[in-house]
C-alpha cells in the first residue's frame, strides 16, 4: 500500500484528506493490515460460509438459515415527524430539500 492507494480510497469514500492526514492514514493502515493479514493464512475448508453440505457428507448446515427479511410494500403508520425531518435539512426551500445542481 502506498500514498496513491490512500488517495484512491479517500476518493472512493468521498473523504477530503490533507497531505499530512494521508501520510498518517497510510502509516495506520499499514499497521492494521499487518495485524489482520494473519487471516489470509487461516485454513478454512473450501466451502462457502452458508453452503448446505460438502462432498464429505458432513452436515455443516448452520443452526440458523440466512434469509432475507421481506415485508409487504404497504403504507404503515410511522412516528416520524415531518417537521423534525425537514428541520434537519442543511439547505431547504418551501419545505423541500435543496441541493446543488447535478448536471
Amino acid at each position: 500500500m502506498d500514498i496513491k492507494d490512500v488517495e484512491k480510497l479517500a476518493d472512493l469514500a468521498r473523504i477530503e484528506l490533507t497531505d499530512l492526514e494521508k501520510e498518517s492514514m497510510l502509516r495506520d493502515m499499514k499497521g492494521i493490515l499487518e495485524y489482520v493479514k494473519v487471516i489470509e493464512g487461516v485454513e478454512v475448508p473450501a466451502r462457502s460460509a452458508f453452503s448446505i453440505a460438502d462432498a464429505g457428507g458432513e452436515d455443516i448446515t448452520p443452526d440458523y438459515t440466512v434469509h432475507n427479511a421481506w415485508r409487504e410494500d404497504e403504507i404503515m403508520p410511522r412516528d416520524f415527524s415531518y417537521d423534525l425531518v425537514v428541520d434537519q435539512f442543511p439547505n431547504k426551500q418551501d419545505g423541500f430539500l435543496k441541493v446543488k445542481k447535478i448536471l
Binding site: 480510497l9 468521498r14 492494521i32 495485524y35 489482520v36 487471516i39 460460509a49 448452520p62 416520524f80 434537519q88
Partner: protein
C-alpha cells in the same frame, strides 16, 4: 440525603413504593451529583431540561398503582440511541446538530415503563474505540482514577453509573464496548445474544454485531433491564422471533471451560493472577473447570477488524452533508460530500471507513472480507460445539486494567487489542457478561467474563449472582 452509592434498582423501587422518597426527590439527588461531578468527569454531553417533569410523571404511576420495577429509575443513555426530539450525535461532529425524529424501540419500552432519562452520555465517535478518547466532545475520565480512561466506546455511560450520576445506564456493543468499560469502572456489563434486543433507532456501526447492552451496579440490575428490553421487534429485521428464543434452561449448571491457549501472551500479570484466583474460588464452590480449545477463536480480533470496517464503510456512507447533520460548503455536489465527510468525521472514523473500503474493493474482497466471513462461521461453530461439553466459557474481560488518558491514541492496533477477549462473543452472537473480580495493586477494578449459548442470558445471571456470593470468600 439518599445513599446513592449503595442504591440498586430494586432498593430504589422498594423505597419509592414505600414512600421513603418520591421519583422527583430521587431525580433531584442525581441532578445534584451530576452538577457536582460531571464538569470534571465529562460523562454526560447533555443533561435533559425535562428530568423533573419526567420524574413527576413517574410519581403519578406510583400514585395510581401502575408503577413497575423500572418506574422512576434514573437512566443514562449513550449518545447513539435515538430519543425523539433530542440530539443524538454519536459523539461525532458530523451529527452535532442532529435531532432524532423518532424513538429507538428500547427508548419506547423504557418510556412505557416510566424511567427517567437524565441525559445522553459521551462515547467514542460512532462507537469506534475502547477508551472514549475519540469523541469529538472531549475525553471522559474514569471516576475511580481520573487520570485514566473509563474504557469505551460506552465510556460515558459507564462513568456516569460508576460515579453515581445515574442508577442504570445503556450502552451499545459491537465488540466489547460495554464489557470493557464495565471492567475498567468496576461494573457489571451484559452483551445480550445478537437479535435479543432491538437495534431499531440505534446509530449503526457494524450491523451484524451491534447490540444494545445494559450496565448495572450488580447482576440483578442488568437482569432487570435486559428482561424489559429483550423482545421481538418487527422494526429490526434481525430481531429474533419469540418462538426461536425458547431454549431449555437447566439450573445448577457448573461446568466452566477455560481456553487457556487464547491468553498465553499480552495479559497483564495481575489480571492473570486475579483470573486464576477467581477460578480457584469457583472450584471451591463446587464448579468444575475444564480446559477447552478454540483454535479458530484466536483469529477473532483479526476477523473482526475486517468485518466491522466493511460494515462501517457501508453504514457511514449515509452521512453526506445533504439531508441532516454537518454540511460543509463546496462549489459542487462532490465537494459538499468530500468536505462534509472530511471535516465531519474524526480520525478513527475516517480510518475505519478507508479500511472498509479497502477490504471490500476488487482484488482484496476474497482475501480479506470473504475469508473473514468464513473464519467467523468457524468461530461460531466451534463455540457452539464447545457448549455441548461445557455450560460456560470463562476468560478475563480485558487483558489489562484502565490505562492513562492519552495512551494508545497513536497506536490503533494497541487500542484494538483491548477487545481481544470480547470479539468471540460478538462474532458468534452469543451472550456474555463482565463481572467485577477484584481490585489491582493500583486500586483499579479487575474483571472476568462468562459466555453462554445463544439466549441463555438466564444462565449468565445465575452464575453471575453465584459469583457475587463466592467472590467475597
Amino acid at each position: 440525603m439518599i445513599d446513592l452509592k449503595n442504591l440498586t434498582i430494586e432498593k430504589a423501587h422498594n423505597n419509592l413504593k414505600d414512600g421513603k422518597y418520591t421519583c422527583r426527590e430521587l431525580a433531584e439527588e442525581y441532578l445534584k451529583a451530576i452538577e457536582q461531578k460531571n464538569p470534571d468527569i465529562n460523562a454526560y454531553l447533555e443533561v435533559y431540561a425535562d428530568v423533573l417533569e419526567q420524574a413527576d410523571e413517574a410519581d403519578k404511576k406510583f400514585k395510581d398503582d401502575t408503577a413497575t420495577i423500572l418506574t422512576g429509575i434514573p437512566f443514562a443513555i449513550k449518545d447513539n440511541i435515538l430519543i425523539k426530539g433530542h440530539i443524538a450525535s454519536a459523539s461525532s461532529k458530523i451529527l452535532e446538530n442532529y435531532k432524532a425524529s423518532y424513538d429507538a424501540t428500547v427508548i419506547k419500552d423504557l418510556k412505557k415503563a416510566g424511567v427517567v432519562f437524565l441525559g445522553r452520555t459521551n462515547m467514542d465517535e460512532f462507537a469506534m474505540g475502547s477508551s472514549t478518547q475519540t469523541s469529538a466532545y472531549g475525553v471522559t475520565k474514569n471516576p475511580i482514577d481520573t487520570s485514566r480512561v473509563p474504557g469505551g466506546s460506552s465510556g460515558g455511560s459507564a462513568a456516569a453509573l460508576a460515579a453515581n450520576m445515574a442508577l442504570a445506564a445503556l450502552g451499545t456493543e459491537t465488540c466489547g464496548s460495554v464489557r470493557e468499560p464495565a471492567a475498567f469502572c468496576g461494573l457489571v456489563g451484559l452483551k445480550p445474544t445478537y437479535g435479543a434486543v432491538s437495534r431499531h433507532g440505534i446509530i449503526a456501526m457494524g450491523n451484524s454485531l451491534d447490540q444494545v447492552s445494559p450496565f448495572g451496579k450488580d447482576v440483578r440490575d442488568t437482569e432487570i433491564i435486559f428482561d424489559l428490553l429483550s423482545r421481538y421487534d418487527r422494526e429490526d429485521s434481525t430481531s429474533v422471533p419469540e418462538n426461536l428464543r425458547k431454549v431449555e434452561h437447566k439450573t445448577n449448571t457448573k461446568k466452566i471451560g477455560v481456553p487457556w491457549h487464547l491468553f498465553k501472551e499480552g495479559v497483564d500479570p495481575e489480571v492473570e493472577v486475579n483470573f486464576k484466583e477467581s477460578l480457584e474460588k469457583f472450584k471451591q464452590a463446587g464448579y468444575e473447570i475444564v480446559d477447552i480449545e478454540l483454535p479458530y477463536s484466536k483469529y477473532s480480533l483479526a476477523a473482526y477488524y475486517i468485518i466491522m470496517p466493511a460494515e462501517v464503510s457501508t453504514n457511514l456512507s449515509r452521512f453526506d452533508g445533504i439531508r441532516y447533520g454537518y454540511s460543509a460548503p463546496g462549489k459542487d455536489l462532490l465537494e459538499v460530500y468530500n468536505n462534509s465527510r472530511g471535516q465531519g468525521f474524526g480520525k478513527e472514523a475516517r480510518r475505519r471507513i478507508l479500511l472498509g473500503t479497502y477490504v471490500l474493493s476488487h482484488g482484496y474482497y476474497d482475501a480479506y472480507y470473504n475469508k473473514a466471513i468464513k473464519v467467523r462461521e468457524k468461530i461460531r461453530q466451534e463455540i457452539l460445539e464447545t457448549f455441548k461439553k461445557v455450560d460456560y466459557i470463562l476468560t478475563p474481560t480485558v487483558p489489562i486494567t484502565a490505562f492513562k488518558l492519552g495512551e494508545k491514541m497513536n497506536d490503533p492496533v494497541a487500542m484494538y487489542l483491548c477487545d481481544i477477549f470480547s470479539a468471540p462473543a460478538n462474532l458468534a452472537g452469543v451472550p456474555s457478561i463482565a463481572l467485577p473480580s477484584g481490585i489491582s495493586s493500583e486500586g483499579l477494578p479487575l474483571s472476568i467474563q462468562f459466555m453462554a449459548p445463544h439466549f441463555k442470558e438466564d444462565a449468565l445471571f445465575e452464575v453471575g449472582k453465584a459469583w457475587e456470593e463466592i467472590r467475597e470468600k
